[in-house]
């Protein structure tokens, strides 16, 4: 039996092991060590939430604190990747991507294609996503669809410590640019994680609960809400199959189609805004490729089309709940063929 560690520790361990294995892996970001240039403690923070704490002692100057200057250092990570390094750049919150988006979607994402296959850009951009932290509109978004939309980028959003370690190591070894989305409300969850290094391939969804009644397709924090909904529904005799996509680009649509073919029903759960979301994308692909298998209407559970609010009752109402997911599952039965 593997020991249990938190998602935060899983990230730290993945970085540590890859830095030890491959000298071209470097890590940069704002306050990822902390205390640079001051009179006090070095490694004062280890990242704003302490994810990279302790790595400086082992790997020294291969961890670089950056100025508050996202365009410059995210671009530098991309440039260094095109010149033989494997940088892991931390961009504190995905909400800050707007500041440096050009470097990601016009530069990193396009080098390989634009240069006729002669470039590779093995950069990983680690970033926090998601609501529930009372962090308000500019520190809480789930912007996964923005990046999934761009050809040339890969997008990962794990839900467990085990997947986090394996997918982060895969991201670092991968030769394409990866946006690695870490849900800030999952940092504390614990799970079994082997100490040895391992990878999880991209584009392989995980069926986290099997069932014949309805497929629930989701990722990130919503995997846990969906499992809660499935447990509640099971008591009422409805067996749901819960699919954790794990990577949004590439997307394992085959596992989704297989499940919907079995269940005949689909609920897509997404913490991103509803329009042009992962939920909308999966819904459209299923409608297009498995329409004949559907016994009821496809349902989507997402936040409303509003910015993330601050006040606790508003934010709680914003984030999709297990009750909303269960209600959506019931609607696929009520409105459909029997």
């Amino acid at each position: 039996m593997a020991r249990k560690i938190s998602m935060k520790q899983a990230i730290n361990e993945a970085l540590d092991q890859e830095m030890a294995r491959d000298p071209s892996v470097i890590v940069m970001g704002e306050d990822i060590v902390g205390g640079a240039g001051g009179d006090g403690e070095r490694d004062a923070w280890g990242g704003v939430l302490g994810v990279t704490k302790g790595l400086y002692a082992k790997h020294g100057d291969r961890l670089m604190d950056t100025p508050l200057s996202e365009s410059a250092y995210i671009g530098a990570a991309i440039g260094a990747a095109a010149c033989g390094m494997r940088p892991v750049a931390e961009l504190m919150f995905i909400d800050f991507m707007g500041v440096c988006f050009d470097q990601i979607y016009n530069q990193a994402a396009k080098f390989r294609y634009m240069f006729g296959g002669k470039a590779q850009t093995p950069v990983v951009i680690r970033t926090m996503v998601g609501a529930g932290f009372r962090a308000a509109a500019q520190h809480s978004q789930m912007l996964t669809p923005l990046f999934t939309h761009i050809p040339g980028l890969k997008v990962v959003c794990p839900s467990t410590p085990y997947d986090t370690k394996g997918l982060l190591i895969q991201s670092i070894r991968d030769n394409d640019p990866v946006i690695f989305c870490e849900h800030k409300n999952l940092y504390g969850i614990e799970g079994e994680v082997p100490e040895a290094s391992y990878t999880i391939p991209f584009g392989e969804a995980n069926v986290v609960r099997e069932g014949k009644g309805c497929s629930i397709v989701t990722y990130g924090l919503m995997v846990h809400r969906s499992l809660d909904a499935a447990a509640a529904l099971a008591k009422e005799g409805v067996e749901c199959e819960v699919i954790d996509l794990r990577t949004l680009s590439p997307l394992d649509i085959d596992t989704v189609l297989e499940s919907v073919t079995k269940t005949g029903r689909l609920v897509c759960v997404d913490e991103a805004s509803p329009r042009c979301s992962i939920a909308a994308d999966v819904s459209a692909q299923v409608a297009q490729q498995a329409f004949g298998a559907l016994k009821g209407p496809i349902e989507m559970v997402t936040p409303p089309h509003v910015p993330v609010p601050f006040s606790p009752p508003l934010e709680d109402a914003y984030i999709p709940s297990a009750a909303q997911i269960a209600a959506a599952v019931k609607r696929t039965f009520a409105g459909g063929k029997h």
Binding site: T66, S69, G75, G79, A80, G116, G152, D174
Partner: protein, 327 residues
């Protein structure tokens, strides 16, 4: 014969001249062929600016990286990218430098240290910081050069990169190619300070301004700051004051120019004429030797155009390849 007063030996001078002449012929030929409708898309020409690109890049090897601009043909040629493959790329051909997927604004050759022309103004500066960072880890004394125009020198990416390079003491050189115009807008309108040396100082970098139409001034200034960067002395800014013979893009009527301006710069600020006058005047190179190069380059460009026109186009099967290394 008099002694050689120049910082390069005769062979070096001839090589520099050949590079500059190749760029000039390449660009003037594109001007004509674009006007005839032979070339798809946007084309931005470097004619008139050759002394800057060649004066700087002459100091570089393949391990030194260049992040170029939308006006990148000159930097590519100076960096040693194959001229025929470049021409094919501009014509959108399958065996162009980027298999026809990049075009004029995205020519790259990473094996030659050319990180690409770039369609986004100022975007090359952070990339050059990254190339310089990689060089710092490699510890072989390599450097990275970021070119921007006077227009893109106002982009946040450029200004942030000056700071980052200074903070990390990167072997990076930021070259402002000041041709006086950001597209149609005068530099004096769009840049609030008179001197880029002042701007560099604001970020803690040494800066130098040179006459970018004077190959030797560029060559000597670049040599000094590149040597310093190789030795761990950190980043610098080099402003080259230069002239643009053509419009911002091909098809630009250039009504924003003053009367007689183009005639004046072609007559009095042509870097190739100045170079030729200097080396023949000093008796180091004979006019006939330069003419022989002119003739040779003309043949090279003529051949490149012929090959480019005859080369096969990409097929629909190429549309979806090379998006990812593996997906």
């Amino acid at each position: 014969m008099a002694g050689n007063p120049f910082p390069l030996d005769k062979a070096g001078l001839l090589t520099a001249y050949r590079k500059m002449r190749t760029i000039r012929e390449f660009e003037e030929r594109l001007h004509v062929d674009f006007g005839r409708g032979d070339i798809p898309g946007f084309v931005h020409l470097y004619a008139g600016e050759e002394a800057a690109g060649v004066g700087i890049i002459s100091h570089l090897g393949d391990g030194d990286r260049v992040a170029s601009t939308h006006r990148g043909h000159g930097h590519c040629i100076a960096k040693g990218v194959n001229v025929v493959e470049m021409m094919k790329e501009i014509y959108g051909k399958k065996d162009g430098a980027c298999h026809g997927k990049g075009g004029s604004m995205h020519i790259a050759d990473l094996d030659k240290g050319m990180l690409g022309a770039n369609g986004i103004l100022g975007a090359g500066a952070p990339l050059a910081c990254g190339a310089a960072l990689a060089a710092k880890f490699r510890k072989k004394g390599e450097v990275a050069i970021s070119f921007v125009g006077d227009g893109a020198s106002n982009q946040g990416t450029f200004l942030e990169s000056l700071n980052l390079a200074a903070v990390w003491n990167l072997p990076a050189i930021f070259v402002v190619e000041n041709n006086g115009y950001a597209e149609s807008t005068s530099r004096d309108y769009g840049v609030a300070v008179d001197s880029y040396v002042d701007r560099a100082a604001g970020f803690g970098l040494p800066g130098v301004t040179v006459d970018g139409t004077d190959f030797f001034a560029v060559y000597e200034a670049a040599g000094e700051i590149i040597r310093r960067a190789r030795e761990g002395g950190g980043p610098s800014l080099l402003e080259c004051k230069m002239v643009r013979f053509h419009g911002h893009f091909e098809g630009d009527a250039q009504t924003y120019r003053g009367t007689g301006e183009i005639d004046d710069i072609r007559a009095n600020k042509d870097c190739l004429k100045k170079f030729s006058a200097a080396v023949t005047g000093a008796g180091v190179i004979k006019a006939d030797e330069l003419k022989a190069i002119d003739h040779e380059v003309l043949g090279l460009i003529e051949g490149a155009v012929k090959e480019a026109k005859a080369a096969p186009l990409p097929t629909v099967a190429d549309l979806t390849t090379d998006v990812y290394v593996r997906y």
